[in-house]
């Protein structure tokens, strides 16, 4: 029996997983867009984005647009790799779970 993959605990949190999945489809995205898409509260969203930034999976850029402060987030290469590996791990675990049932 092959070794079961360990799922990355940083990616594993549901909101963090949702954020990485969303950011993987965008070049960059505003905090408000991420909040609208996930339905998360400001506090929770900020905390989870900070954790992803700490892990090097998300990069943050603060700037002004039409005199309003704007915070832009984008997924890094390491974040994309972590998400990809997480999906592979999930699929492998699901496959094993199905094999065990059969």
């Amino acid at each position: 029996m092959p070794d079961l993959p360990e799922l990355n605990p940083v990616v594993h949190g549901k909101l963090r997983l949702a954020l990485l999945s969303l950011l993987s489809t965008a070049e960059d995205a505003e905090f408000t867009w991420l909040r609208a898409k996930t339905g998360a509260t400001d506090g929770n969203l900020g905390a989870q984005l900070a954790r992803l930034e700490e892990a090097g999976y998300v990069a943050v850029e603060k700037r002004f647009s039409a005199r309003k402060p704007q915070t832009l987030y984008r997924i890094t290469r390491a974040g994309r790799k972590a998400l990809s590996e997480y999906i592979q791990g999930l699929k492998q675990l699901l496959g094993t779970a199905l094999d065990n049932e059969g």
Partner: protein, 200 residues
């Protein structure tokens, strides 16, 4: 890890990834209002053409529609995300707007836009191209359907009488602008209801 995480949970996580990726790619639905607005603008311009000062109908109505689109888009704050897809779809419609503006203003000023059927054929063909490219990029069959209706309208206008071509043009506007616009807005509303809060 497998003991801690049930199969159901794993499936839910895969579904969450798929849903979020689809959400990120969603661009055109939020522009349903724009299709509706432009459909109404076309109807106003057509109705005004035969009324007093009819020569100003198209420039004024289209100018007002551009201004309204700009105001509504800036109030809604735009997409707040940049994707390759949204840039591709946006560039199609921007190019359509610029082409239509330059072509029809030039034809109007030069006085060479004399046959209504040519006008309908060109507008419908351009709308068919924009809807077709946008629908194909987004993999959205409903918008591809709109493109087919516009292409049929363009071809019909080349062969039918002025009055029949006009009627087909009005029907195409109804389905591809008004109905499609309302459908886009309803889909966006449904998506908003379906969206549940996700917690870490």
């Amino acid at each position: 890890m497998l003991e801690e995480t049930s199969r159901q949970d794993l499936k839910e996580r895969l579904a969450l990834i798929e849903t979020m990726m689809a959400e990120g790619r969603q661009t055109t639905q939020r522009w349903g209002w724009s299709f509706l607005l432009w459909g109404v603008a076309y109807y106003i311009a057509i109705a005004w053409t035969d009324a007093p000062h009819g020569k100003w109908a198209w420039p004024i109505t289209m100018g007002a529609a551009v201004l309204l689109s700009f105001i509504i888009a800036s109030r809604s704050g735009g997409d707040k995300s940049r994707t390759t897809m949204s840039r591709a779809v946006g560039s199609i419609w921007l190019a359509f707007g610029m082409t239509a503006f330059l072509l029809f203003v030039s034809l109007g000023i030069s006085g060479r836009l004399t046959d209504l059927r040519v006008f309908i054929a060109v507008v419908a063909a351009m709308l068919g191209m924009a809807n077709g490219a946008s629908g194909y990029l987004l993999g959205w069959r409903v918008q591809m359907g709109c493109a087919v209706i516009w292409w049929i309208t363009a071809v019909s206008a080349c062969f039918l009488s002025v009055s029949r071509a006009g009627i087909i043009f009005l029907i195409a506007i109804f389905f591809c602008q008004i109905v499609f616009g309302v459908y886009g807005m309803l889909e966006q509303h449904r998506t908003r209801i379906r969206r549940k809060a996700i917690h870490a």
